[in-house]
C-alpha cells in the first residue's frame, strides 16, 4: 500500500513473522498509523459502518442458513420455524432482515457523501467504480435474499423482475423468453428458482467482500478525500488513523447501531411488507406488488418509461451512469462546499431520488406517472447536463490553502485564489 508503515515488531515471534509474512505490518500500516485527513466529519464513518454491515449480514446469514430450507414446499415453513421455535431465531432473523435495510441506508449515505464532496474525482476513479460494482452486487444479493422467505411479495417480486428480461424479445425475438426460462430453471417461477437464488445469495456476499478489499486497497493508494476536497500535503493536514479516526468511527458505528436496534427490536416489520407473511401462492396476485424500499427509485424509473424494454434500459442505465461520473463532472474543485451553483443542484438531485422513491411505492397511474417521468428526466439530466455544464460555468469559492487551514482558520496563512482560471475545467 502507498503509505509506509512505521511498524516495529516487538516480540521475537513478531520479528520472525515480519520476515516471513508481514500481516501485522500490513494491518499496522493500513489501520493504525495510516494518515487520515484531520477534517473528516461523521459522514466518513460510513465506510467502517458498511464493513460492519457486511460482516453482520454474513454472520447472521450463516446462522439462518443452518435452519432454512430452500425448497418451494418448505421455505416459508422453515422461516416460521426460525421465528417461532429456534432459540433467539426471531432475533437473528430480525437482525438479518433489518440489517439489509440498514446496509442500504448506509450505502446511500456513503454514495451521496461521495457525490457531495467529489470523492469520485481523480485520483479516486477506480475506487469509485469499485464502489458502484459493490452497489450493484449488493442489489442482486438483496433481491435474491428477499425471495428466500417465499412469501407473496417474494414470489411476485421475483416474477415481475425476472419477467423484465422478456423485453429483450423486442430486440431479438425469442432471446428474452429463453433468458427468462434459463433464470427460472423452468417455465415459471418455482422451487427450482428459489433453490438457485439461495445458492447465489450465499455466494454473492463473498464476492462483495472481495470487492471491498479492492475498494479499500484503492482507498489506501489514493488516500481519503475530505470535506475540503484537498490532498494531504503536510503532516499538519493529517492525524494517524489510530486513535483519532478509529475513535470517531466507533462513535459513528454505535450511533448507527442505535438506529439499527430501534428497528430490529421495536419495529422489525416496519421496513418490510405485510404480504410477505402470506405464503407464496402462484394463483393469487397481490393487489400491489412493490419491491423493498431501497429499490423504489429504480422501480419508479422502470415504470416511468412507456415501453417495457425502454424501462428496463433506463433502470439499468440509472445505475450504470454512476460509473461515468468521474468524467461527467468537469469542475476542478472536488467539494461542493466550494461550489455555489452545483451545491443547489446536488440537493435537487437528492430530492429527485427521494421523490422517485415515493413514486415507486405509489400505483403507476395518473399524476404519479407524470411526476415519475419528470423526476426520471432530471435524474439523467443531472448527470448528463448539470454535471458537465455547471462545472464549466461556475466560479468556485476561494479554497483554503490546506486541510490544516480549513480546520484552524486562515490565520495559519492566506488562501489561494482560484482567480484567473476561475471556471477552467479540470486538466487531464
Amino acid at each position: 500500500m502507498a503509505h509506509e508503515s512505521h511498524y516495529k515488531p516487538t516480540s521475537r515471534f513478531g520479528k520472525w513473522m515480519d520476515e516471513r509474512l508481514p500481516v501485522a505490518r500490513l494491518v499496522h500500516g493500513s489501520f493504525v498509523d495510516f494518515p487520515t485527513p484531520r477534517n473528516l466529519n461523521y459522514l466518513w464513518t460510513f465506510g467502517g459502518i458498511l464493513s460492519f454491515c457486511l460482516a453482520a449480514q454474513i454472520l447472521t446469514g450463516l446462522v439462518l442458513a443452518m435452519h432454512y430450507q430452500p425448497s418451494g414446499a418448505e421455505a416459508f415453513n422453515s422461516v416460521e420455524h426460525i421465528r417461532r421455535d429456534v432459540n433467539y431465531g426471531y432475533m437473528i432473523r430480525n437482525f438479518h432482515a433489518v440489517g439489509a435495510s440498514m446496509f442500504f441506508i448506509a450505502v446511500y449515505i456513503h454514495i451521496f457523501r461521495g457525490l457531495y464532496y467529489g470523492s469520485y474525482k481523480a485520483p479516486r476513479e477506480v475506487l469509485w467504480i469499485l464502489g458502484v460494482l459493490i452497489f450493484l452486487v449488493m442489489m442482486a444479493t438483496a433481491f435474491m435474499g428477499y425471495a428466500l422467505p417465499w412469501g407473496q411479495m417474494s414470489f411476485w417480486g421475483v416474477t415481475v423482475i425476472t419477467n423484465l428480461f422478456s423485453s429483450i424479445n423486442e430486440l431479438i425475438p425469442g432471446l428474452g423468453t429463453a433468458i427468462v426460462q434459463w433464470l427460472w430453471g423452468g417455465y415459471s417461477v418455482s422451487g427450482t428458482t428459489l433453490n438457485r437464488f439461495f445458492s447465489l445469495h450465499y455466494l454473492l456476499p463473498f464476492v462483495i467482500a472481495g470487492l471491498v478489499i479492492l475498494h479499500i486497497w484503492a482507498l489506501h493508494v489514493a488516500g481519503q478525500n475530505n470535506p475540503a476536497g484537498l490532498d494531504i500535503r503536510t503532516k499538519a493536514d493529517a492525524v494517524p488513523m489510530f486513535p483519532h479516526a478509529i475513535a470517531k468511527d466507533a462513535v459513528g458505528l454505535f450511533a448507527f447501531l442505535l438506529v439499527f436496534a430501534w428497528f430490529a427490536f421495536v419495529m422489525p416489520d416496519y421496513l418490510g411488507h405485510a404480504d410477505n407473511y402470506i405464503e407464496a401462492d402462484p394463483l393469487v396476485t397481490p393487489p400491489h406488488i412493490v419491491p423493498e424500499w431501497y429499490f423504489l427509485p429504480f422501480y419508479a424509473i422502470l415504470r416511468a418509461i412507456p415501453s417495457k424494454l425502454g424501462g428496463v434500459i433506463a433502470m439499468f442505465s440509472a445505475i450504470a451512469i454512476l460509473v461515468f461520473v468521474p468524467w461527467l463532472d468537469t469542475s476542478r474543485v472536488r467539494s461542493s462546499k466550494y461550489r455555489p451553483i452545483y451545491k443547489w443542484f446536488f440537493w435537487l438531485f437528492a430530492f429527485t431520488c427521494l421523490a422517485l422513491g415515493y413514486l415507486g411505492a405509489m400505483p403507476a397511474e395518473g399524476v404519479y406517472v407524470f411526476w415519475a417521468r419528470v423526476f426520471t428526466f432530471y435524474y439523467f439530466a443531472h448527470f448528463l447536463l448539470v454535471m458537465p455544464i455547471v462545472g464549466l460555468i461556475e466560479t468556485p469559492h476561494r479554497l483554503p490553502r490546506s486541510i490544516a487551514e480549513s480546520v484552524l482558520g486562515p490565520s495559519r496563512g492566506g488562501g489561494i485564489t482560484p482567480a484567473t482560471a476561475a471556471a477552467a475545467p479540470e486538466k487531464r
Binding site: R38, N41, Y42, E80, R83, R84, Y90, M91, S101, I105, Y108, I109, F112, Y116, P227, A228, V239, P243, H244, A247, K248, A250, V251, F254, A255, L257, L258, A261, W262, A264, F265, V266, M267, P268, D269, Y270, L271, H273, A274, D275, Y277, I278, P287, H288, V290, E292, W293, L296, K337, A350, C353, L354, G357, Y358, G360, A361, M362, P363, V407, L408
Partner: protein, 287 residues
C-alpha cells in the same frame, strides 16, 4: 463552516431515509381510514396483557375456530411464557377435546387414523384443505389466522407532505400495531351498506375490508358478543381481545424482544455517549 454543511447534509439524509421507507405505506387503492387503538403491547416497552390474551383465546375458540384454523400455533405455545400462559393441565385437556383431530399414521395395519391432539400438535381448523373450506363457505376461503396480524397492515394514503410527516412520526414512536388495528377495525366494521351499494350474493358490508364486501358474516356484533367469566363483555372488548390474541399468535416472541430491546438501546446510548466523550479527548489537541 464544515459543521453547518455537515448539518445540512445530515438533515437532507434524515429526509432521504424517512422518505425511502415508503413501501410500508404503499397506498392500497384508497383504503378506509383505520383508527388506532391503544394496545398493552404497543410502543418501546409494551408487553402482552396475559389476561387479555386468555380472553382473546376464548373468543377464538368459541367463535372463530368454527371456520378458521391456526396451524402454526401449537397447543404447547398456549402454556409458554410470553403468551396466554394457561396451566399445562388445562391445555392438555383442551387439546384432547379439540374437535379438529390430528391425522396420524400409518398404523400397523397401514391405515391413517385420526387421534385427539396433544400439547405438541397444532391447532387445526375444521377443514382438511382449502378446497374443503371453500366448498363449505360458499366459495370464500377463511384464511388460517396464525400469521394474520402480521399479514395485514394499515395504509397511509395521505397526500405526500403529510405522508412523510406521518411516516416520521411512526418511526419515532415505534408504531408497529397496524395488524391489530386492522383486525379491530374489521371486527367492529360491519355496517348496513350505504344507499346505492349493491352487495353480491352472500356478501356483507364492512368499512375496514378492502373493497368493503366480505364473505365472512359478522362473527361478533353489538348484540351477539361473548360474555367473559366475570359477566362483562361487549363487541369492542371482544374485538380488542381477539386482535391481541391474534397479534400474539403471529408474534409470540414480542415480550422477550421488547424487554431485551430497551436494555440494548440503553446500553448503546450510554456507550455512544462514552465513546463520544473519549473521542473528544483524543481530538482535543487536533482542532
Amino acid at each position: 463552516m464544515s459543521k453547518t454543511s455537515f448539518k445540512t447534509f445530515g438533515l437532507g439524509f434524515a429526509a432521504v431515509t424517512l422518505l425511502a421507507s415508503a413501501p410500508a405505506f404503499a397506498a392500497e387503492g384508497g383504503g378506509h381510514h383505520i383508527d388506532r387503538q391503544t394496545w398493552a403491547f404497543g410502543g418501546l416497552t409494551g408487553q402482552y396483557d396475559k389476561a387479555q390474551l386468555q380472553r382473546g383465546f376464548q373468543i377464538y375458540k368459541d367463535v372463530c375456530s368454527a371456520c378458521h384454523g391456526m396451524k402454526r400455533v401449537y397447543f404447547r405455545n398456549l402454556v409458554q411464557p410470553g403468551g396466554p400462559e394457561f396451566p399445562e393441565a388445562s391445555v392438555k385437556e383442551l387439546a384432547a377435546q379439540w374437535p379438529n383431530q390430528i391425522t396420524d399414521g400409518p398404523n400397523d395395519a397401514g391405515e391413517m387414523f385420526d387421534r385427539p391432539a396433544k400439547l405438541s400438535d397444532p391447532m387445526l381448523g375444521p377443514y382438511k384443505n382449502d378446497k374443503a373450506a371453500r366448498a363449505a363457505q360458499g366459495g370464500a376461503l377463511p384464511p388460517d389466522l396464525s400469521n394474520i396480524a402480521k399479514a395485514r397492515n394499515v395504509h397511509n394514503s395521505a397526500f405526500w407532505p403529510k405522508h412523510v410527516w406521518l411516516m416520521a412520526k411512526d418511526i419515532a414512536t415505534g408504531y408497529q400495531e397496524g395488524g391489530a388495528d386492522y383486525l379491530y377495525a374489521l371486527l367492529t366494521g360491519y355496517q348496513e351498506p350505504p344507499a346505492g351499494v349493491k352487495l353480491a350474493d352472500g356478501m356483507n358490508y364492512n368499512v375496514a375490508f378492502p373493497g368493503h364486501q366480505i364473505a365472512m358474516a359478522p362473527p361478533l356484533s353489538k348484540e351477539g358478543f361473548q360474555t367473559y367469566a366475570d359477566g362483562s363483555g361487549s363487541l369492542e372488548k371482544n374485538a380488542a381481545d381477539v386482535a391481541a390474541y391474534l397479534t400474539w399468535a403471529s408474534d409470540p416472541s414480542l415480550n422477550s424482544r421488547k424487554s431485551t430491546g430497551w436494555v440494548v438501546l440503553l446500553y448503546l446510548l450510554v456507550t455512544t455517549v462514552l465513546l463520544w466523550l473519549g473521542k473528544k479527548r483524543i481530538w482535543a489537541n487536533a482542532h
